[in-house]
């Protein structure tokens, strides 16, 4: 069936090119039927790509190793869940996913605006089609996902072991839903510029897409952090790795965008800034995909590196140059309709928030590309590490959290000192109480930046709680409803505002976890033999015995061998057992002369054991010392090499038994990380808030009675 997938991609490429041409012709000639035809071509593209996607997924599920991609990163033994998600572990598959998601996004938005934005839509449609055509060009000519093998192997290589983690398999689609989602507001911004309809129509039409893309990208970043924390075995969740940074940059600029567009919607201001932000966000999204795919920077994502750097770079430059030229040519149409009334206004706070977010993005960009910059200037590659990033991002993050709290208490246009005093006193009082409690009961004062962050988080949560309380109280006065009904009605009728407040609370909680775990983590690395103990924080860790399992990986990754340690942990008289381990997957092409040696030269992953807690996590990883197996490995290779792979499984089982029955040493890394759980909780709270904010309103979002009353009043007002 590979031929069907390839045919769908080629037909899809021609369809995308037609969509772009028909849409542009419709825009130029004013003949709407050509635009409608172009729109249908986008729908057809989604259909073609759905078939291609299904063909490849079916090949993975059937373990059809005549597909080169399936043979490359799946196997008979790969668990079904990982077979389903293995597609995006490869470059070809992830490019197909990118363009498939783009076709779905494009079809959805074009369906929703089919009777609106008559001038903007044709150009937006053309932009979406051109982006799709670029990615289709890559999968048709450079990285075909449906390449076949003349002699299919009996079994495939299996999925890259590091990726056999539930978070990692959901993480790429989430990131791509984010990256790709930003192409919708980008396309409509270009459409608005091209058609000179630079009002807020394009923003309102794509608001939910922007917010959805931002939420998916943020959720994807969080899943990546969770993967790093539980899979990579170093104990952290963020390493300022180039590919992590590549996802963070569009998220930061996207955050600025979803705030600043509100100023354009309300006041008609910041038009140049807003189109520049969405162009920046989209270009950074392309850059994110490019960084994973180019291999130009060393990364933990090295498994994704390839040679697509050239086309990507050319496309990014073309998008950037074309967009910039369009903005410059439309400066006259982008003049603001209003001026900033007062520095005591929400507009002013949003502007400050935008500057901080863009500043953060610049810091991350500079640190990420510093190796390339230093090489270009001085001829030597130099890189900056986490301390460099922390030095600059920490103060900016503190200012950002402060603005997150301050923003909601300001009114649009102009706030009065009296209203600000009323609004700020309760959260500031809560902040003071929280500060006093932290100073009295915790060691928070040992890290001043963390103490400031904790205080600001208390302030943000206080503001959010107060906003809800004041809103519900106002609703009760207006409608006389009981508290729960008033709360539901308040959120339901002002989803964007109150969903946004929940997002603020979620981000604050996540940053609470980041600050606490960064400043107060305790770590111990120790080499232990059975019976020995070590300590980390208040925990005493005693190595009881080595463990070995054959084809019994508890994480369900299908690892043939697991070696680890059973350790007893004691704290304040309470005891529990942990079993960190390491999975060994064997070499994809074992050396027939040394099957055992090459088995251990293959991929291996850490399976950490974490005791999650709201106040602290106990985290432990173990690396078995294979010295005790050196002799049996050498003997086994000498005696059984001639028997080939038939006895390989038995030999590995024998080695496992040997490991478990000798006093095999292990090297453990144990961490006590305070409040890490709040990163994940905060992330989920933020996602919940985003879902509320973008949940579509009903047909009459204002409520029939209210709309009728406003309408009647407005008509009476007009007659007066």
């Amino acid at each position: 069936m590979a031929w069907l997938g390839s045919a769908c991609l080629f037909a899809g490429l021609l369809t995308a090119l037609y969509a772009a041409a028909a849409s542009l012709w419709g825009a130029r000639s004013g003949e709407w039927r050509w635009v409608a035809s172009g729109r249908r071509a986008i729908f057809a593209l989604a259909g073609l790509l759905a078939v291609a996607f299904a063909v490849l997924e079916a090949a993975y599920l059937r373990s059809d190793f005549s597909f080169a991609l399936v043979a490359q990163n799946s196997s008979e033994a790969t668990p079904a869940f990982y077979k389903l998600t293995a597609m995006w572990s490869s470059q070809e598959g992830s490019l197909l996913l990118w363009v498939f998601l783009l076709s779905l996004y494009a079809s959805t938005v074009l369906l929703l605006v089919r009777r609106r934005l008559r001038e903007i839509v044709p150009y937006a449609q053309a932009v979406l089609a051109v982006v799709a055509a670029f990615f289709l060009g890559l999968v048709v000519f450079a990285e075909p996902p449906f390449a076949t093998l003349a002699s299919p192997p009996a079994d495939g290589n299996g999925l890259q072991p590091l990726l056999r983690h539930p978070a990692m398999m959901i993480h790429p689609p989430m990131l791509y839903l984010g990256y790709v989602g930003f192409s919708v507001p980008f396309a409509f911004a270009i459409g608005a510029l091209a058609s000179r309809r630079t009002g807020a129509d394009w923003i309102q039409a794509t608001r939910r897409f922007s917010l959805a893309a931002w939420s998916f990208l943020g959720f994807g970043i969080m899943l990546g952090a969770l993967w790093s924390y539980t899979e990579l075995g170093w104990g952290g969740y963020w390493a300022w790795d180039p590919v992590e940074n590549a996802a963070l940059m569009p998220w930061l600029v996207g955050t600025a965008f979803i705030h600043s567009v509100m100023i354009q919607e309300k006041r008609g201001m910041l038009r140049v800034w807003n189109v520049s932000l969405i162009i920046g966000t989209f270009v950074l999204s392309l850059l994110g995909t490019f960084l994973v795919r180019s291999g130009i920077l060393d990364s933990i994502h090295a498994f994704g590196a390839s040679t697509l750097g050239g086309p990507f770079l050319a496309f990014i430059v073309a998008v950037l140059a074309g967009s910039a030229a369009l903005v410059v040519s439309r400066l006259g149409d982008l003049r603001s309709q209003a001026r900033l009334d007062s520095l005591l206004s929400r507009e002013a706070v949003f502007l400050a928030n935008n500057l901080v977010l863009v500043g953060l993005c610049f810091v991350v960009f500079w640190g990420t590309f510093f190796p390339l910059i230093s090489e270009a200037i001085g001829g030597e590659e130099a890189s900056v590490g986490p301390p460099w990033f922390s030095r600059y991002t920490t103060p900016l993050a503190l200012v950002l959290v402060a603005l997150t709290g301050i923003g909601p208490v300001f009114a649009w246009r102009r706030a009065t000192w009296a209203s600000l005093r009323r609004a700020l006193v309760p959260p500031l009082a809560l902040t003071a109480v929280a500060l006093a409690v932290m100073l009295a009961l915790t060691p928070a004062a040992e890290s001043v930046p963390s103490l400031v962050m904790f205080s600001l988080v208390a302030f943000v949560l206080g503001v959010v709680a107060q906003e809800y309380w004041r809103g519900v109280r106002a609703r009760r006065v207006m409608a006389g409803e009981p508290w729960p009904v008033a709360l539901v009605a308040l959120v339901g009728r002002n989803r964007r505002r109150y969903g946004g407040y929940i997002v603020h609370a979620g981000i604050a909680l996540a940053l609470l976890g980041v600050a606490a775990s960064s400043a107060f983590v305790e770590q111990r690395d120790a080499r232990l033999v059975p019976g020995q103990s070590t300590t980390v924080g208040d925990y005493t860790i005693t190595y009881r015995e080595p463990i070995a399992r054959v084809l019994d990986d508890r994480s369900g990754t299908g690892a043939p061998l697991t070696l680890g340690a059973r350790l007893e942990v004691e704290k304040d008289g309470e005891r529990f057992v942990v079993e960190p381990s390491r999975n060994y997957y064997g070499a994809s092409r074992p050396d027939p002369q040394a099957p055992l040696r090459s088995f251990f030269d293959g991929e291996a992953t850490s399976e950490v054991d974490v005791r999650w807690g709201l106040l602290r996590d106990f985290w432990i990883a173990a690396v078995p010392d294979l010295q005790t197996l050196e002799e049996p490995i050498r003997e086994g290779d000498e005696r059984f090499a001639s028997l080939g792979s038939d006895v390989g499984g038995l030999l590995v089982a024998a080695l496992a038994e040997r490991f478990a029955n000798t006093a095999s040493p292990v090297t453990v890394r144990a961490l006590v990380s305070p409040m890490v759980a709040w990163i994940w909780i905060g992330g989920l709270v933020a996602v919940l808030g985003a879902v509320i904010a973008l949940w579509p309103a009903g047909r009459r979002p204002l409520g029939g009675v209210y709309a009728a009353r406003v309408g009647r009043e407005l008509r009476e007002f007009a007659r007066a």
């Binding site: 031929w3 080629f10 249908r40 009777r115 208490v409 246009r413 102009r414 406003v710 407005l714 007009a718």
Partner: protein, 89 residues
């Protein structure tokens, strides 16, 4: 062979589908209907702004004077939209 045939069949199906609007007797979607829907969307957005300003007043963020000024401006803009809707009939 299979590939070439599949490309031809797929392109034929796609071509039939996408040229529907070009073959249609109704050669132009009604611009008036589109304008009406855009104005309805603008009206909804303006009403929402009016209501948000009212919520700001009730939650103490806007003074009575500021709210009256903003509300008057917003209602004026809403009236302009309603007039355009009325003109469409």
């Amino acid at each position: 062979m299979e590939y070439g045939l599949a490309v031809i069949v797929l392109l034929a199906v796609v071509a039939f589908f996408v040229t529907g609007p070009l073959r249609s007797a109704e050669r132009e979607e009604r611009a008036e209907q589109q304008l009406r829907e855009e104005l309805e969307a603008a009206k909804e957005a303006k009403y929402r702004e009016i209501r948000e300003a009212e919520l700001d007043r009730r939650t103490g963020k806007l003074s009575e004077d500021d709210w009256r000024r903003i509300d008057r401006e917003l209602r004026g803009e809403a009236i302009a939209i309603l007039k355009r809707l009325d003109e469409l009939g």
